[in-house]
Amino acid sequence: MSLRTTARALPTMAKIGFAEAVAYRAEMLVWMLSTTMPLVMLSLWSAVAKDAPVGRFGQAEFTTYYLLMFIVRQLTGAWAAWQMNHEVRTGALSQRLLRPISPIASYAMENLAALPLRSMVAVPMAAIALFVVGPSTLAPGKFWALVPLALAGGWTITFLFNIAIGALSLYTESSLKIMEIYFTLFAVFSGYLIPVELFPGWLHGAVEWLPFRFQVGLPVELVTNAHSWDEALRLVGIQWAWVVAMAVGTGLLWKNGLKRYAAYGG
């Protein structure tokens, strides 16, 4: 499993992943429909902000925020936990383990390879809507330079959460219940449903100490004038600290879990 063999196999794995995404395009559509929650929340907050703005959020700000949130969710999507649960239960993980490449790398490529197709529908749609709302609610150019970094960090954290929860299915038979809990926490604390700056005091404190906000919240905050430049840099730094910490933790969880893998079914 040297780094070189992995690097050589990456393009092929990406191709396979892309072909799979095309083959299961109906499933992709279902997935996209299930990520329309920001648009529902937009409708709700628009009603709330009709008479007077909430914090610094007027109707235009809410529209920008939730459209961007919709895009970022498409770009940072990962679903390896479901795959892993299924493969551990049916024993299909054995095939992955036989290949001379770390299963984690192959999950990553499969998940990443579907992104172009997923964003092909969502991004233009939301971009047009964003253009109609107007650029006045967006941050100046230098903040945009941080976006690729924040997006990469956000995707990595989401992916690592998936791998960690998927690895838990090696310890218990199924970790889908944990996935449910994770998703509930994510929805509340990431800014996915509600911009974190609208949280009242103590809840806001909780957000600061949890990783969820760095998954989808941070990239959106960066381009909607939520932070000063110094604060933005600090947050991206914390985000990548989370990436490193989670990579170590997930690696341990996966390594130890694998020893318990019994390859049932088949």
């Binding site: 529902v40 299924h86 929805a187 509600i194 809840l203």
Partner: protein
Amino acid sequence: MGRYLKLLWIQLRSSMLLALQYRWDFLVDGAISLFSAVAAVAPLYVVFHNRDSIAGWTAPEALLVSGWFILLDAIIDGAISPSLNSVVDHIRQGTLDFVLLKPADAQFLVSTARFQPWKLTNGIGALAVFIYSFRQMGRTPELLGAFTSVGLLGISTVLLYSLWILTVSAAFYVVKMDNLSYLFTSIFDAARWPATVFKGVVRVIFTFVIPLALMTTYPAQALLGRLEGTTVLFSLVGTAAFAAFARVVWLRSIAKYTSASG
């Protein structure tokens, strides 16, 4: 008819026995449901932290809607989705053949295949939310309204079940669908808000296409004594039509079933 009642009893009993076997699930499910009940209320808390009332709903009134949301969620998790999730597995693996071979209606068999009684403990959480929000309002529910809301609970269960049947029918056409239940719950999630808060297209969708309004908002309005009789009547007729439609779609989809590998 008597035969189907007997069948239902047999299926229920086997689920009960299974549930007794996994007694620890009672604690795990209990903990998870308590947690999700709190999480269900959190967004509400944030919104009403910024406003006293939204579209005519005060915080305790909106909390009532959340209570119904928690209750219906318990019904879905306990009685509807376990069975229908297994249909998706059957379709994928081709084992639906065995169900179809049995001399009883296939929809009945698959819909009663599994119950998770422990999940119904969520109902207690919903009751606590009801009591709390009425105490906050400093009043009691209307008696007639309480009866109406129980009736509406029945209607919305039928409605949810029909929606599930429609979702499952989709699995006959697109086989790889691990996340059908995920789609369902993420759309149902919007039911925690009073439907009248939404505007425009979203509101039309939640009233007529995916009638979330009927499931949580109307029962809450009934408890508050604000629901009109005609709305109840329309709900009844609409749900009957919806259930009939789901039945037709199911029959058509199952006719398309060609069995998978095996």
